[in-house]
């Protein structure tokens, strides 16, 4: 009896999460000031003080609905559509293994065989590249956040690994991540195998949703380790694929890197007003 009540409560909470996720995005003002960023031992993101000008960042990740408007207005061809080399995921793969799928693009984030986005227009757009994200920004007259701006926004005043402290066990309240021990078996224990509707989980103190998890968010910037012979794209916050054991990048410290033309179904973006 108690078990069935718990099950009902769980189902109800998932429905509430789904309902919350129906909202469109707004912008949050981050005031200018000096902020401490980085970590004491992090070699790519050292502890330092930075001055940030006031900026306005989207409360949610950019949705399929918003990206569709861009495509319809411009007939832009994404990298995945052009190169036919998007990387997709299905349960059963070894850690860090992805499949190349020529049918995958923003309309079919994990390939045609795994379904389209018809009923996922309020999910973050994925299977797009950094290059595609910049094209959207140019059209919408917005921009990507810088690496530092993203971190200021994600921390919401905190100096800890996560904006709520250092306890990773609370991640499930705030983020759509992978809770399985590995990626051999499907994990939808938080209600979602892949992406979730934006704003489905609790926000940080600044009112930003999905700052961790759901999709890696592209940022602008360079690091001291950047190679001279090629351009790198950086993205932060981890994704629905990330787990505690395989990729714990759902925090305010780590910085992911990827080819600027790579399209993965766990990559998306959040915009900043010009």
């Amino acid at each position: 009896m108690a078990g069935s009540k718990i099950l009902l409560l769980w189902v109800f909470s998932l429905l509430v999460q789904q309902a919350i996720g129906q909202q469109d995005t707004g912008f949050v003002k981050i005031v200018q000031g000096n902020y401490l960023l980085g970590g004491k031992t992090h070699q790519l993101n050292p502890l330092r003080k930075v001055h940030i000008q006031t900026f306005y960042i989207a409360a949610t990740e950019l949705t399929n609905h918003q990206f569709k408007a861009f495509i319809e207005a411009t007939h832009y061809i994404t990298d995945a559509e052009r190169l036919k080399n998007a990387m997709v995921f299905e349960p059963g793969l070894d850690e860090f293994k992805w499949l190349q799928d020529s049918t995958a693009c923003w309309k079919y984030p994990n390939g045609k065989s795994r379904g389209g986005i018809e009923d996922k227009m309020n999910h973050p757009v994925t299977s797009i590249s950094y290059s595609d994200a910049r094209a959207y920004c140019a059209w919408a007259k917005v921009r990507l956040p810088s690496l530092d701006e993203w971190e200021v926004a994600s921390r919401a005043g905190a100096s800890t690994l996560y904006f709520w402290g250092n306890d990773v066990e609370k991640i499930g309240e705030y983020a759509n991540i992978w809770h399985g021990r590995n990626h051999k078996v499907a994990d939808a224990s938080d209600g979602y195998l892949y992406t979730s509707p934006v704003g489905s989980f609790k926000p940080n103190a600044y009112g930003l949703y999905d700052i961790y998890g759901n999709v890696f968010e592209f940022c602008e910037g360079i690091l001291i380790t950047d190679p001279k012979d090629r351009k790198l794209a950086y993205a932060r916050g981890g994704s629905w694929w990330c787990s505690k054991n395989a990729c714990g990048f759902f925090n305010s410290l780590d910085i992911g890197r990827v080819s600027p033309h790579a399209s993965f179904s766990n990559q998306g973006f959040r915009v900043v007003k010009l």
Partner: protein
Amino acid sequence: MKIQTVKCCRSSIFFLFLLLSFSLFAQEEGTWRQASPSSQAYHEYRLKNTIPPYGLVKIKALIAQIKDADDDSKSPLNQKAYLALPLNEKFTYHMIHAESYSQNCDVVPPIIDEDKKIFGILPDAFNESSWSERQANFLKSQKDAVVSLIKESVNRSKRVGLNYKTALVEMNATETIPFLIELYNRDHKDFDILTVLMLFMKNNEYKPFMISTSFVKLYGDKSDAQSFINYNKANEELIISRAIAFYNGRK
């Protein structure tokens, strides 16, 4: 419930200001520490690949042709040209050119005291790239020939590059265990060889290793992609002795 917008109330901003002030104070207690020169040097050493000599000039020219000069996007060699390559040149192609992308969190960043640690997994051999399905299939289907080419190359260069180590794990080439141990014992410098030995034992579910403290720390429920055990003589000897026992017990 409504998403917060720029119309935040003043009291919330004041509260956030107080919170921020406290957080800044809390973080200023620490100072950033850079990895030592030896740690940084070891990070570079770990990432070095071995470049095979077989048809190298020809393969480099082919790769230069397929790379899109405008945007540096990833393109595989077309199937006809790929299939036309003799085996040893195909091997060179695989060892210097990965056809697929690696995801955001795949690239291992430098860390403190890297030169004193034995990690659970290898770094990514090709930065933001990884082998495609056809490349992985080639390695597995041509395992004996690839192992032979790797040994030949290593015996010349006296070093097993990260790409070779990655290939050995991909192919589950456990027959190379004595060869790897002999190579490691020459200078006891490349701890990633010990990582390869442990990955062999893990991937083949070698029970004495699976129930060990090292396994729990490197691959257990609380492990992550950067998990490590400290380098010391005892750990080194234990890994090698277990790997020898695993090798001798293979069917």
